[in-house]
Structure formats: C-alpha cells, structure tokens
C-alpha cells in the first residue's frame, strides 16, 4: 500500500534549471532573429561560409494566378486570393522581374536591389486579345446585344473577343427587340465629347493660337477662357499635363505621400543611369536645374516631382488615368489604345489595350468606351481567371 503519492511536484531546482536554459535560448535566438529580419543571411556559396546582406522586392499584380519570375527563378505563389508577392533573400545588384500569364501581355522590369531595403513595384498585364462588351441599340428580352443586317460570314469582332452572348440577324426588323438605354447613354457621350482628329499636342497649339489672336484683339469672355483652359486630369495627387509635345505625370502633394516610383535612392548621376536607366539620369539632370519642377531631397532619397510618359513617339489623341488606378495611364495613340505605367525605373512598360487607327475613346465613370465602324464597345479591363 503506498504511503504517499508517487509523482512529486516540479522541484524548484528543476524549474530553475529549465528557466536558465530558456534564458540561454533567448539570448542566442534574439540576435539571430534580429540579424535575419534585417536582411543578413549566411552564405555557403563561396569557398567559406560568410555573412551576406540581402534585400527584397514587394510586387503587386493586378491579376491573380500570374507567374512571377526573379531572373530565371519562378516565385512561389502567395496564399489564396492574394496578389502581392514579397520576394526575400535577394542578393545585392540589379535583378529582372517578369510577370506573365499565357493569355496576358508580359510585364518586365529591371530593378536595383540594395542591402536591407525592399523595392516596391506594381505590375500590370493587359490581355493579349482585347476583351470587349458590345453595346448595341437593341437588346433581346434577356439583355443580349443584337446586331442587324449581319451576313453569316461577317466577323463582328475581328481584333477583340467577348465572353458574352450576342444575337446576330440578317433582318432589319426591330419590333421584337427593346431599346438599349445604355446605348443611348453611350451614344450621347460620344456626341457630346470632342472627337477631334488632331492629336492633343496639335489641339493644344491650336487653342494657344486662338488664345493669342483673341487676346490681341478683344478681351475674352469667361466662356472662351474656359474652353481654352487645359482640362485638369488629377488622381491620387498626380496630375497629367502636356508640355512640349510630351505628357507628364506631376506629383502635386507633399513628400510624405509621394508614390515610390518618383523617388530614387542613389544620387550619383552615373550610378543613377546604371541603376535606373539613362532616361532617369537625364530627367534628374534636367529637373535638378528646373525652377518649376525641382528635385526634392528627402533624407536618403531623391524624389522627382514629375515623370515623362512613354507614348512610343506617336501622337496622342487622348490620355487619362486607367480606370480605378493612379499608377497607370491610358493613352490613345496613332495605332491603338495603350496602357503605360508612370513608374519609369528601368523602363516604362507599355501594353496595347485595343489596337486600331480609326476609333474614338471616351472614359466615363471608370469605364472605357470605344466607337469603331459605328459599333460601340466597352473595353473590359478586369480579366477573369483562366
């Protein structure tokens, strides 16, 4: 018969021993963790083991299920329904990031990686084949767009695609269909919007000419002044302006909220060209002597107040912010509708959204409408998962 319990309580000595063991583990782990989280890594690649410093890239994408590559290495996809990638353990130096998907245009950028620093970047991928939603004058009872007088051999969507049903008929009879209210709205948009065949640069010089003649003769009335004033296109603190046959994205607010791509982390002009491209070094050189758009020195970085947009050397017929986005710009050029990024580090990725020479564009309520050959479309910008 037992005279006392067999399991004693934890002795003070044992608890003390465990406590000191954990203190030792803490003292070893803490510096190791701090070194790791600040970007230090142990490298086994050289002959001996060495400690190297690393940096990172934080990349956001506008599509899910894209493939992201750092150089030749594919990056593991983030958890479900996330479109941001944090790539860590990147060696110091220049690295190429590629974002692609078979049905999308590829986005590529070369970025300099600095020790302990994470470079932020936003990728975008427009569809290879433009996606449109047809807007017709008549629709069926279920809302399907109706095309009249269409021969069986006619291809309605020669350079685009739609996932929506359309109803094509050789008949001209409209009695069985309903008037499409949206069509009337879109039609009114195009009729009320100037659809000049002049480029925006020509329009600007034309209006300046008119302004010059007006002011040399009689005073302008208010209405005339309003028509000659450049339209304000502003989003997220960025204003789009045209100057010297170029389009610029101009940061209008304080330094605290300035988007990352306006700023550079190295101030040497040779190094800037090497890190970000000659065009960036040239821009810095130009802005450093500018009195209207000066360079802002913000502690360890150099921020430009404006970035020139790449319009592929073509005339620009229309420009605006891409719907629901302050980092991408919509450009209607001579051979199509394009999307370009303001971020010019490395280069500006420019992707065609809708090709063609004879169409007009209106952006209303963050929707892009196109009128081509008498047909109206909405260009779909959010691509569904494959």
């Amino acid at each position: 018969m037992p005279t006392e319990p067999k399991i004693a309580s934890l002795s003070y000595k044992r608890r003390q021993w465990l406590f000191y063991l954990l203190v030792v583990i803490f003292l070893i782990t803490l510096p190791a963790m701090i070194f790791y989280t600040t970007g230090y890594r142990i490298s086994f690649e050289s002959e001996g083991t060495s400690i190297v410093t690393t940096g990172g890239i934080y990349i956001t994408t506008d599509n899910l299920n894209v493939d992201v590559y750092l150089g030749e290495d594919q990056i593991e996809r983030p958890r479900l329904f996330r479109s941001a990638y944090y790539i860590q353990n990147i060696e110091i130096g220049k690295h190429r990031v590629v974002v692609q998907r078979p049905d999308l245009q590829t986005w590529v950028k070369d970025l300099p990686i600095d020790p302990h620093i994470v470079v932020e970047v936003a990728a975008f991928n427009m569809p290879l084949i433009p996606q449109v939603r047809p807007i017709t004058e008549y629709i069926t009872a279920t809302g399907t767009a109706v095309y009249f007088d269409v021969a069986t051999t006619t291809d309605l969507f020669t350079k685009s695609s739609t996932t929506l049903l359309v109803y094509a008929t050789s008949s001209l009879a409209t009695s069985t269909f309903a008037i499409n209210e949206e069509f009337l709205f879109v039609e009114s948009l195009f009729s009320s919007t100037s659809t000049s065949s002049l480029s925006v640069f020509e329009q600007l010089s034309d209006s300046l000419e008119r302004f010059r003649f007006s002011t040399t003769s009689d005073a302008l009335d208010d209405e005339e002044i309003a028509t000659t004033t450049e339209p304000e296109i502003i989003r997220g603190g960025i204003r789009l302006v045209e100057r010297d046959r170029e389009i610029f994205a101009v940061w209008q607010e304080g330094i605290n909220n300035i988007p990352f791509y306006f700023c550079l982390t190295d101030r040497g002009s040779t190094s800037t060209a090497k890190r970000y491209g000659q065009h960036v070094a040239d821009a810095v050189q130009r802005l450093s002597v500018s009195t209207t758009s000066p360079i802002i020195v913000d502690r360890d970085r150099l921020c430009r107040s404006e970035i020139k947009l790449n319009h592929l050397g073509q005339d620009v017929y229309y420009y605006n912010f891409f719907p629901n986005n302050a980092d991408l710009i919509l450009l209607h050029l001579e051979d199509g509708l394009y999307v370009t990024e303001i971020d010019d580090r490395g280069w500006q990725n420019t992707q065609v959204l809708y090709p063609g020479e004879n169409f007009t564009v209106v952006v209303e309520n963050d929707l892009i409408y196109i009128l081509e050959d008498g047909y109206y479309f909405e260009v779909i910008t959010e691509i569904e998962l494959p």
């Binding site: 018969m1 037992p2 005279t3 006392e4 319990p5 067999k6 399991i7 004693a8 309580s9 934890l10 003070y12 608890r15 465990l18 406590f19 954990l22 583990i25 803490f26 782990t29 803490l30 963790m33 701090i34 790791y36 989280t37 600040t38 970007g39 690393t54 940096g55 990172g56 934080y58 944090y86 860590q88 302990h116 620093i117 994470v118 932020e120 605290n256 502690r299 360890d300």
Partner: protein, 519 residues
C-alpha cells in the same frame, strides 16, 4: 470579537491598517502611499501600450526589435508554462487515481473537523442541492463535517428560507449544519462573498466551535463557492496534505478548480475561458511559491482566527485572505498545492450576449485582484520582519503578473503590427518592416502549438458525455482553442485594463456575483 479573541490575533494583524482595502480608509502619508500604489498598475499598463504606439511612430526600428524580443519571450514562456501544465496534469491524474482513504490510515486525524463554508446569494436550488449532495457523497466521515450555508439578507427572505430548507434536507447528514444570514449594510463592509464569509466564520465560532470546545487547531476550514462540488476523496486528500506538510498552520491548501459542472451545456467560449482558468491554476500548482489562494480553498481555523477571519471590505477576498496570512505571519505562510480537483460551474447565461457579458464581468472582478498588489506592497513597506528579498520578490512577481496579464495579449496580437502601420517611411522600405509580421506570425504559430497540448488535456478532463449530447461536440471541444487569441484580448487584457484603470482613477469596484447555472 471579544478581548480574549484579540489576544490571539498575531501582533502585526492588530494594526488598524491591517485590513485596509483602499486609500480612502487611510490618512496622511499612508493614504498618499496607498493611493500612489493604486495608480501604479494602471499607469504601467497604459504607459506600455501608449509607449509601444509612440515608439512605433518615432523609433520604429527599436519598436520592431522589442517586438521580436517579446515574441521570442512569449514562445519560451509558453513552453515554460506548458511544462508546468503537463506535469500537473500527470500529478492530477495520479492523485485522482489514488485511494486517499488508505493513505490517511497511518495518520492520526480523528480529532480533526472540516468546517465547510458555502456563501451564496441568489443561486438556484439545484446548484445548492448539487453542492450538498456532493458533500454527502464524500468518502470522509461526515460526522466530522461542520457545514455552514451562509445566506445574504440582501438576497431576501427566499434565500434564507432556501438555506433552512436545505438544512432540513441535509442537516442530519453532517456533524453540524449551520445556516447564517449575513446582515445587509454592516459599516465598513462591502457586499460580497468576503463579507458573507467573514460573518459566517464568526457565527459558526459562536454557535458551534466555542460551545463544543473544538480546538481551533483541529479545524480545517474550506471556503467554497456555492457551485463547488467536491470529488469523493477531497477531505481525505486535504487532511493527508495537512498532516504531512512541514508547517500545516502556516499553509493554505489549494485544489484545482475544474469548471466542469455544466461544461457540456456551456458554449465554446465559456468552455475555453473555464479551461483557461483551470490551466492557470494547474500551472500555479507546480509553482506554489509564486501562488496565492484562488476561489475555493482550505486553511486551518487557527490561522484564520489569528488574523480575525480575513477582510469583509474587498472584492478579491479569496486571494486577500492569503496575503493577510502571509503579512501577519511575517512572510512565513505558503500555499500547498493539492493537485486534486474540485468541480465548479463554467460561466454561462441564457443567451450568447449574456454569456459574453458575464464572462467579461467575472474576469474584470478577478483581475481587480490587482488591489491585492497595492495591499501587499503597502504592508511590505511597513512589516520589516518579512525578509527583504522575499518582499521584493513577491512585489515584483505579482506586479509583473498583473502587468503582463493586461499588456501581453495586446502587445502580441495588436501592437506587434504597429510599426508596420505607424512607422516612418524609412522603416517601411526596409527588409525589417516586411520580415517583422512574418517573424511574429511564425513565432505565434509556434506558441500556438501549446494550444494543441491544451486541447488534449482539456478533453481528458472533460466529464463523460451525457447521452443527449452529440459526439460531434468532441470535435468542437478540440477546435474551440483557436479562439484563444481573441479570448486573451477580450476576456483577459481588456477587463484587466478596465479594472486597473478604475483603480487608477479611484473608481473602486464592488463585488459582482457571477450568475450560476440558469434554466
């Protein structure tokens, strides 16, 4: 209390400020000192929280390093405490399997009485019946039990009538059965379990102990919540520990409260909170040198008599009685862990919102135990007979306990991300800024491994499944532990902060009676 009684009171316990509850009861420098002590915990907690926010804004790198250090500390602390839980679990199981009746056969215990006090307020009949029935089913000689059912006059005539009805039903089963009715509005008291218990102790002394000339040293007093259902061998286990302890009259005996009476009917939230409280008590069972009494516990009547039966003017009377004893005995008093369970009720209500409110209020009352820190530090400055090292050790340890209770969950689950949202632009561009949440998340996942252990232990302590309950509930019981991060914030840190802030501003709390089982 008669002059004779006072002569037996320990010298330090005769001080007029021995039973101080709040600064307003003192005057002059003592009042200022006590008020300062009442402010310290709240200021420490708020300073920590605000300090981390400010550090995240102005020195985010330092804040990030601190958060990493704190997360590692938390993982190691979790491991350290889980070692205690696992060991106590083994010990608890072992103690539950032992035949304590056999163990005490070699000891001389026939002269000892067990005084069992059940203070109650408006708890329903079935709770009281269940409790007394548990007592009847005890394996101990019931003739040696003095049972006191302590009613409150505040609760109305029905409560007293119910107590007498219970005496009618169970009175003959025990050596003595006394019903006491604590008068309302006795000057210097606050309504609550402490004042009721104090009244019951003085009444049973007058009505039973002194008339029967039972030596105070031969009485072991168990002060139980009314929902306490003892396990059959409780009194055998208690007397064994009493008679084999090094210093039985300088010891309080602490069982492990299992809040399992209504566990199958309680919501997952109630179960998690109940089991979390049990786990904390299991940890303290393995480090009794750092423990105080909690909830239902036992102590010799002699020891209680020497301090005038504890305080009738505090909220956290269960722990205060231990601190009274420690200070009056010049530091020579300790907790002896029984590692034997008693069953109590998990906090519930008829609705989910009611349950949430009840749990919050119960934990706010428990965490108002910070008033004890003010009391012990105040008396540590007065009673120089307590070894200095012991005074510092207890003051720092208890202070750290109340501080970490309030701040740690908030720091871990909320402020750990503060530098990322509040830090400077330079910080946001660094690898540290991106790695910090990943590191903290991973460390918390490691720490959450302790929850798996908790889940297993909790299931092993769960009473058998009633026939009308689905087996599926076992799965819910296993998975319910994922709520712990939330319960730590909303039912530990925030009520704790609430209690400390009230004390800091001198808005003293009263006793809130936790509602027991409801139909």
């Amino acid at each position: 209390m008669s002059p004779d009684d006072k002569s037996q009171i320990l010298p330090y316990a005769r001080r007029p400020d021995f039973k101080v509850a709040r600064a307003t009861e003192l005057s002059g420098a003592d009042r200022r000192l006590f008020r300062f002590l009442e402010i310290v915990p709240g200021v420490a907690a708020w300073a920590t929280i605000i300090g981390i926010v400010l550090a995240s804004i102005y020195v985010p790198f330092l804040a990030a390093y601190f958060i990493i250090a704190f997360s590692i500390y938390w993982v190691l602390k979790t491991f350290f405490l889980s070692v205690h839980v696992r060991h106590n679990w083994k010990r608890l199981k072992h103690h539950m399997e032992l035949d304590w009746g056999q163990l005490i056969e070699r000891l001389k215990y026939d002269d000892f009485y067990h005084l069992v006090i059940f203070p109650f307020y408006q708890e329903p009949r079935e709770v009281i019946e269940g409790t007394l029935q548990g007592l009847v089913e005890s394996k101990y000689n019931l003739g040696k039990l003095i049972v006191v059912l302590a009613a409150e006059a505040r609760a109305g005539e029905d409560a007293a009538a119910l107590a007498y009805e219970m005496k009618e039903k169970f009175g003959d089963s025990f050596g003595h059965f006394v019903v006491t009715v604590h008068p309302a509005d006795i000057p210097g008291e606050i309504a609550g379990k402490g004042s009721n218990t104090h009244w019951a102790l003085t009444q049973v002394k007058k009505q039973v102990i002194d008339p029967n000339e039972i030596p105070y040293k031969n009485i072991l007093t168990s002060i139980f919540d009314i929902d306490t259902v003892i396990y059959p061998d409780y009194f055998n286990c208690l007397i064994w520990h009493f008679l084999t302890s090094e210093n039985p009259y300088k010891s309080a005996f602490q069982p492990v409260p299992l809040f399992t009476n209504n566990l199958w009917e309680a919501s997952a939230l109630s179960r998690v909170m109940a089991m979390s409280s049990t786990f904390w008590q299991m940890i303290m069972q393995e480090r009794p040198d750092k423990a105080a009494t909690f909830s239902s516990h036992s102590v010799s009547f002699q020891a209680l008599h020497e301090i005038g039966y504890g305080q009738a003017n505090v909220v956290s009377e269960d722990s205060r009685i231990f601190w009274n004893l420690l200070i009056a005995n010049n530091g020579d008093f300790e907790v002896v862990s029984l590692s034997y369970p008693i069953a109590m009720d998990a906090t519930t209500a008829t609705t989910m919102w009611g349950t949430i409110k009840n749990i919050y209020r119960q934990h706010r009352r428990w965490t108002y135990g910070v008033e004890n820190w003010c009391y012990i530090v105040y008396h540590f400055t007065k009673n120089k007979s307590i070894p200095l090292k012991k005074r510092w050790s207890i003051a720092l340890m208890q202070g750290e306990g109340y501080w970490s209770l309030v701040t740690n969950p908030i720091m871990l689950f909320i402020l750990g991300w503060a530098p990322i949202f509040l830090g400077t632009r330079e910080f946001h561009e660094t690898v540290l800024s991106y790695e910090l949440p990943i590191m903290v998340r991973n460390l918390l996942i490691v720490a959450m491994g302790g929850l798996v252990v908790s889940s297993i232990i909790a299931l092993s302590l769960t009473p058998p499944r009633p026939a009308h309950q689905s087996r599926f509930k076992y799965i819910v019981m296993a998975l319910q532990w994922i709520m712990v991060p939330l319960t730590m914030i909303f039912f530990s840190a925030i009520p704790g902060l609430d209690a400390q802030t009230r004390l800091m501003f001198g808005r003293y709390m009263g006793f809130w009676v936790t509602p027991k089982r409801q139909k």
